[in-house]
Structure formats: C-alpha cells, structure tokens
Amino acid sequence: MIDYHALAPELLLAGTVLAVLTVDLLRVEKYWVAVVGLFGLFLSFIPVLTLGFCDTLTFCEDTGTRFLFGESYAVDSFSLVLKALFLGSAFVAVLLSVGYLESDRFWQGEFYFLMLSSVLGAVVMASSRDLVTIFVALELVTGPTFLMAGWRKGDPRSNEAMLKFFIIGVLSAALLLFGMSLVYGTTGELTFAGIRAEAAGIRGGDLEALFTVGVLFTLLGFAFKVSAVPFHFWTPDTYEGSPTPVTAYLSVVSKTAGFVGLLAICYLAFRDATFLWGPALWVLAAASMTVGNLAALRQTNIVRLLGYSSIAQGGFILVPFGAAVAAGVTDVQLEEAFFATVTYLLIYAFMNLGAFAVIIAGGNRLRSAEIGDWAGMFGYAPGLATMLAVFFFSLAGIPPLAGWFAKFVMFRAVLSVGGGWAAALAIIAAVNSVIAFVYYAKVVKSAFMDPAPEHVAVADLARMPTVPSLQFALVLTVAGVIVLGIFPGIIAEIGELTKTFASGF
C-alpha cells in the first residue's frame, strides 16, 4: 500500500506540470500559465505543511519518518524542510520570470513547464535515499535547465551558455554515474542505509581501493553540479549568457539540489568514510572561496559578479563538510556541521534570489548589466538601490541581515571541531569574508554615492515602474532577509529539526 499523503507534494507538483502544459494549449494570455504554475506550487506546499505538523493534526497519523519503496524514499523533517525551500524558491523564481519573459519575445508556456519539471526533480531529490533515485532526480533538476539557459534563442551568448552547460553537465553526469556504479558494485547495495552497513566491512579489504575510487567519482560529479572550484569553468559564462531569471534559478534551486544530494550521500551513505570525503571537500571549499572571491573582485558585469559570488558562497556552504577532515569527529560535531550547511542553504536562497530580483528590476530599466551604469541609482530609484544594499550586505554577512547568522553557524561548526585543519579552514573563510565585503560594498557604494553616468536618462528611469510580480518577489525576499536576520531563532529551530537526519535513521 502506497502512502499517498507522503507522496502528495510530488503528485500535486507533477499534476501542476501537466496542467501548465495543458493551459499553454489554450488561447489565453500567457501569464495565466505562470498563474497556474504559482497556484500549483502553493498547492504542493500544503501537504508539506500537513506532513510537517502531522503530530498536531487530528486527521494525520503520526508515524515519524515515513519510508517508502524499501527505504529508498524517505519523508522526514530534513526532506520536508528542503521541499519547502525548493517550492518557496521556485515560487520566487517564477515571479522573477513573468515580467522578464513578457518584456521580450520568448516562448513562455514551455518555459514555466520546464522550470516546474526541474523543481519536481529537486523535490524528489530531497527525499531520495538510494543511488538510482538520487541520480534520476538530479537529471530531472538539470535536464530542463540546459534548455532554459538557451532560451534567448537569437543571442549567441545564450547559445554558448546552453552548450557549455550541457556538455559539462553531461560529463559530470557520466562521472557521477560511473562513481555510483562502482559504489554499487563494491557494496552490492543501492540504498544509503545498505551502503553504510556494507561499507564498514569493506575497510582494509580487497574492495577498498575500488570503493574509494567510486566515492571520489561520486563527489566529483556533485562538485560539478554545485560548481565548486576547480569544476566551475562553465559557471560564469552560463550565468552571464542565460536569461537572468534562469541564472537566479540555477544559482539557488539547482545549486541547492546539488548540495542536498551531497548532504544525503555524505552524511548517510558515506557516513563512516569521513576520512575520504572530508579532505576532498576541504580542498574544494578552500579553493571555491578563494578563487570565487578573487575573480569576483575584478568583474565589471553585475551578473558575472554574482556568478563568481555564488561560487564563493558555495565554498562557504562546503566549509562545514570540510571540517570533518579532523580525524575522529564525533556524531555531535557532524550534526553541528550538518546543521550549519542546511541553515546556510536556507538563508542563501532568500538573499541570492533577492539579489537577482534587484538585478532583473534594474536591468529592466537600464538595459545594461555593467556595474558602471548602475552608479547613482539611489538618485532615481531609491527603493531599488536600498534593496540592492540589503541583499548585498546580507551576502557579505553584515548584521542584522540574515547572512550574518549563516556565516556565524558556519564558523561555529568549524571551530567546534577544532584542530589544525579546521582552524586553517576557518582562517581561510574569515579572510574570504573580508575580500567578499570589498566587492559587495563597491557595488553598493557606486549605486549610492557616485553620480549617474551621462548616457543614463535619469528622468525617464525615475518614472519607470517595477512589474508587480517583481515587486511581490522583492517584498518576499526582503522580508525574509530582515526577519530572519533579526530573529535567527526561527531558522535555527528549523535547522534543529533536520539534525535528526544527521544522526542516522
């Protein structure tokens, strides 16, 4: 008997995907397709809530973690929190797309269909607890985004973005699948619980070398997906060339989905192999922060700047993983590291989506993504410039904006591990936080203090309204960043819930 309540978010979202495709056939204004999509996302959110608050509802039979299909699919607090995050971020991403798609000639209905299919993949990803499901879910997350990256069909840069992303994506999928097949071959298990149980017996045996190769290839595949340095080459070009809402989607939903897969695999399947993935991810975290931030310093295009900034932020998210490098980490320290990563992901979604919302709103007016053209924005669009400051300072980690709490828990997790390696990573992260502040502050300073460039028609721009859907997205994200920054207890509470996941089944 299948537990339909546990599967309700996925089923409703799959229904929405098909509904969007059907509504697109009707001869209606295309924004109705987006409205149907938004409604469907909202509808799928309801069962996430009823499952989450199951113990307080009378009609819901509280069974704790629900396992389906032989432990390969789990509905627990971790997966529910991340499903909520995916559905919420997708809601904002659709809002960002509406005005953007209306502003030029785009195929609209199919765009929302692809975006929602990708979200469905992310939602399945959060619950996947075996290799097959997680791989297929990851393909559903990335597959539609390849096409969305090329949605500006006439623009060669968009074509380049699509092609680079596609080729690197296929390569990483092949690496990932190869790694997974070796893990399956050596352990004979597909579920994470089974792999963990088998892996204990592999240590020191004949199979260990092949198992190690398998683990490393699996990590490599995910490293491409989360664009960790040195597997980040596609990121800046793809981010710059894609339509900006797609970039926002890639840097938040698709990236978070990669991290969720990495979390599930590392903390469940390879739980007893921290000595393998700890050092590997230590290197990736340090390299991503340093390379991402140093490259961002030199950018003159604001989308490219956010591309490098998101590589660097990915490094910060990897830091708690890397902290596991210290030998003999206890369960409590691992839980702390896990908590830090989830918290960072939740806050990152708000501030990065918000930053992209500002860039889309500004880009709509200026028709330019050059930072030089953004100078003096405070003069003609004070609201937009203020929000730019809010999101950029939050990304830099300035209190009382939400970003500080993300950084705070990240440092706390690393320092709680202690030891030379963890301390070194903490120092690298601290230096990088300072570097990051420089380029975020530079943009904000230019928008507030510098005079507007001559070719910018200030008077026209001042009268230009922001599209309602974009206003809505901005309000949602600004509220999130400020409220969570002042009351970080809310997010801590949610992160705390997911900790049970890190302590195993």
Partner: protein, 188 residues
C-alpha cells in the same frame, strides 16, 4: 590479484569468445575517437556498442544486452546519423575535430592514468572472483521491480523525457516572425 594461472586461462573456451569480442571492441573504441570523419566515428560506435552488448550476453545478462542493442544501436546511433544529415553538418574529413598535439598528449596522459588507476582498483577488488552460475533474469521480474521498488525513478524519467522533448522542440523550431504573430497566425 589474478588467481588463475596461464594454463587455466587457455583451457577455458569462454575466454576465446571473450577475446574475439573484446579485441574488436577495443579497436572500435579507439577508432571512434581517432577517426576524423564523423560518420565513420558513428559507425565504429555501433561496433563498440555491439561488442559491449555481446559481453553482457556472455555474462548472462540478456535483458541488458538487448537493451543496449535496442536503445543505443537502434535509437541513439540512428539519431546521431539523422542529426548529422538534417543539420547539414559537413560529412567527410573534419579538420576542426583534430586538436593540436599538445592537447592530444595531455588527454592521452589523463585517460591513461585513469585507466591504470581503475584497472588496478578493479583487479584488486574482483580479480580473484569467479562469476557464479548465471541465473536467468526474467523480464517479468524486471518489470515487477520497476513498478514496485523503482516506481519513483521510473516516473521521474518519464518527466525528464517529456521535458527534453518539449524543450528540444522549442529550441529547434524556427521562431515565428513578428508579422506572423501580429496577424494572429502564430503565438509564442
């Protein structure tokens, strides 16, 4: 490491069959990457895939073998050929496909190192094991597990294919001109 001695190896008839499949397979794989004619490369790919299907048959995995033949040789390769034909890509010797020597050497070094690494790891892991008497996998069992244990991946794959189809059509088709849209003949 490998526990079988040379004498054993030559007295087992399966090994000759294996060699007869594996050597052409390696050759075909080599030619796929070295031939400078795209159509030739695709035809060598057919050989390489056919060889791997035959290896699966030798291992007693009939279903996988036929899946490789049907899906890869039957569909994917044919798609390649159609793609080359329809996009009017140049058929014949392609100079741009040849990379400079420096790139080729580094590619050869990387793939060689990877091969040695994986081969050593695989030999240490399974070199001394013999494959148990192959149980025949019934297609009915595979169907059963697809619709019970693996129903989620199965359904997810169908969405992937649908998305690829819809998105592929949008990317590939010609956009209607502004006049056609204004006349109401086409919509975006």
């Amino acid at each position: 490491m490998v526990a079988v001695t040379a004498g054993d190896w030559f007295s087992t008839p399966e090994n000759y069959v294996f060699l007869a499949i594996a050597l052409p397979l390696v050759f075909a794989g080599w030619r796929v990457v070295t031939s400078s004619n795209v159509v030739h490369a695709v035809l060598y790919l057919v050989g390489a895939l056919g060889g791997s299907a035959a290896l699966f048959l030798l291992l007693g995995a009939e279903f996988v073998a036929w899946a490789v033949v049907l899906v890869y040789i039957g569909a994917v390769v044919v798609l390649f050929l159609f793609g080359i034909m329809i996009t009017r890509a140049p058929i014949g010797v392609e100079v741009e496909l040849s990379h400079p020597l420096r790139v080729r050497i580094s590619a050869a070094l990387v793939s060689g190192a990877l091969f040695v690494l994986i081969a050593i790891a695989a030999l240490t892991a399974f070199g001394s094991e013999s494959i148990p008497e192959a149980e025949v996998t019934r297609t009915a069992d595979i169907g059963q597990s697809i619709f019970e244990r693996f129903v989620i991946p199965f359904e997810v794959v169908s969405v992937v294919l649908l998305a690829a189809l819809v998105g592929g059509i949008v990317i590939a088709r010609r956009d209607p001109s502004p006049e056609e849209i204004a006349a109401g003949k086409e919509t975006l």
